[in-house]
């Protein structure tokens, strides 16, 4: 029973009219994982989140949270969820503390001590008794996270959680979410546009494109899939064509060069000495060989462009 994933999407589909906004999504998120949800604008990320928390109906399929269907057993399923959907929309005319008390009243077992603990964690201790309308966007984001964590959920869903946070705040939040997942076993589902942030924060990422899940992988595999990286070789510009022919003889893909004398080659790190030797033996003057690690952004663009 402990091995049961915290979230199970089973062919979840959202249809509006004849159009599938989200199409046949199936994946699981186990306890203790930070799962990143990527996708260009309009891919259906927020629609998926809304289905996961029961804000919108699922047209087909089901979503289970700790084994409970969000459609058939809403109350039991949602009590395991803490979430921010899009923006942390709190009551601006109430203080931060009054907001937290308001949300605490809706679930059982949230004590004053728990509220104080959460306030401390999100770093709002000094301003918690001020009205929310006086808060900066970053402070509202922190308060939103606080309300999501109040009842110690098994699943934390955060839609663009770093919005409005300063670098120190982002760093703190990232570490807190990782600690929450890895030490307390909470499943964290994060959607964000900040790919570099996802790379640092997530254990696994899923990429959504036009409502379909096009990739779901461990973050390291995702970025370094197949071990192939881009290698930039700078040679004497007059010898560029000769160098290209030699590299082609090794069945290596040469990408369009950016500058004269520069060759971009798709290959593994351990193949660099052989390529270097080949060029040197042919009398080509090699000025530099540089590995260009593929970032999550490169990979994301590659995947989403491929699937268009």
């Amino acid at each position: 029973m402990d091995q049961m994933p915290v979230v199970q999407l089973r062919h979840a589909t959202k249809r509006i009219g004849s159009k599938n906004i989200v199409n046949d999504l199936s994946f699981d998120i186990p306890a203790g994982e930070v799962f990143g949800f990527l996708g260009p604008n309009g891919a259906g990320k927020t629609t998926t989140i809304r289905m996961m928390v029961g804000l919108i109906k699922i047209s087909q399929g089901d979503i289970l949270i700790k084994g409970q269907s969000i459609t058939k057993n809403f109350n039991k399923a949602i009590q395991n969820v803490g979430a921010i959907v899009e923006n942390p929309d709190l009551y601006k005319y109430l203080t931060g503390y009054q907001n937290l008390k308001h949300y605490a009243r809706m679930v059982s077992g949230v004590t004053k001590a728990r509220i104080s603990e959460i306030v401390e964690i999100v770093g709002l201790k000094d301003r918690i008794h001020d009205k929310v309308k006086t808060y900066s966007l970053g402070m509202r984001q922190r308060l939103g996270i606080a309300q999501a964590l109040l009842h110690s959920p098994s699943l934390l869903i955060l839609d663009e959680p770093t919005n409005g946070l300063d670098p120190a705040g982002i760093h703190e939040l990232r570490n807190y979410l990782k600690r929450l997942a890895h030490e307390e076993g909470v499943a964290v589902f994060v959607s964000s546009h900040l790919l570099s942030e996802m790379e640092l924060m997530c254990d696994r990422v899923g990429v959504l494109q036009a409502g379909k899940l096009v990739s779901i992988q461990n973050i390291k595999d995702f970025v370094h899939k197949g071990g192939a990286s881009r290698v930039c070789v700078t040679v004497e510009p007059a010898q560029t064509e000769q160098a290209k022919r030699l590299i082609a003889s090794l069945n290596k893909i040469t990408l369009p060069e950016e500058n004269p004398g520069q060759l971009l080659i798709q290959m593994n790190k351990d193949e660099i000495p052989a390529v270097n030797r080949l060029l040197m033996d042919a009398g080509i003057q090699v000025y530099s060989i540089q590995m260009q690690e593929q970032t999550l952004e490169d990979k994301f663009l590659e995947i989403t462009e491929d699937k268009k």
Partner: protein, 256 residues
């Protein structure tokens, strides 16, 4: 459920608008008093005293009640939906029916609070200005019986149609999700109501008409059948728009 109602009331009583309406009610009472005190003797329509002033105010502040209900409902439903705080509540283990019910109960409690405020302040201001007086008067006509008990009965009677109107406005707020349309529709209903009186019986089914006249039936020698008929109409408003709101809410995709 009680916790949800407590939450809703907690928010209502922290709204500045709530206290602005209390101020408006007091201002209306002062205007009434001013008119009575400073009109030439021959122009006063009927005599007034402290124990009768609350009854006059209950009948006279229907526009304030209409506006109060419209503004409060617009705030509780349309504004919360528009600014997104609505959806955060729906992320809790609370059914949508419970959510609607808690808000409706909080609205009813707020209406009762405002009506009680109207009666209590009218007793105070009326007694200070006109003195308590010998007998309860309704539009100048003496009414036999315990004046406080009669006023209490009419106060309670005035709340019932307000609840029906409140449910109607809740339904409008839910389907339009718009503050302006919610308040505008309530005002439009208020403006149209007198026009319906030209068409005979139709006005009997107008909730605004009932807000203006229902409580008066208890001192206007209306028969029990007539009173029950109006109660059925009011209850029909409450039930019909509560069920419609609940069904609409249950099926609604929350997109904001």
């Amino acid at each position: 459920m009680l916790r949800l109602v407590k939450n809703e009331l907690y928010k209502v009583f922290r709204l500045r608008k709530f206290y602005l309406f209390m101020g408006a009610i007091l201002a209306l009472q002062l205007v009434e008093i001013f008119q009575y005190k400073f009109l030439p003797q021959g122009k006063v329509v009927f005599p007034l005293n402290g124990q009768s002033f609350p009854l006059e105010m209950i009948g006279g502040n229907s526009i304030i009640m209409v506006m109060f209900i419209a503004v409060l409902v617009a705030d509780m439903f349309a504004d919360e939906y528009r600014n997104g705080s609505f959806k955060l509540v729906l992320l809790r283990p609370v059914s949508r029916i419970q959510f609607i019910s808690a808000k409706a109960i909080a609205l009813l409690a707020s209406i009762m609070a405002i009506v009680c405020f109207t009666v209590i302040t009218a007793y105070i201001t009326g007694t200070i200005v006109f003195t308590w007086g010998n007998q309860l008067l309704f539009q100048g006509v003496p009414i036999d019986g315990n004046s406080i008990a009669i006023t209490l009965k009419l106060t309670i009677a005035s709340i019932l149609p307000s609840a029906g109107f409140g449910m109607l406005v809740i339904f409008i707020a839910l389907i339009t999700e718009n503050i302006g349309i919610t308040i505008g529709s309530a005002l439009a209903l208020f403006i149209i109501s007198p026009l319906l009186e030209r068409y005979g019986n139709i006005s009997n089914y107008s909730i605004i008409h009932l807000m203006n006249t229902f409580h008066e039936m208890f001192i206007n020698n209306a028969t029990l059948v007539q009173i029950y008929a109006k109660i059925v109409v009011i209850i029909a408003y409450v039930v019909l728009f509560y069920i419609s709101s609940a069904i609409f809410m249950k099926r609604k995709d929350v997109l904001l």
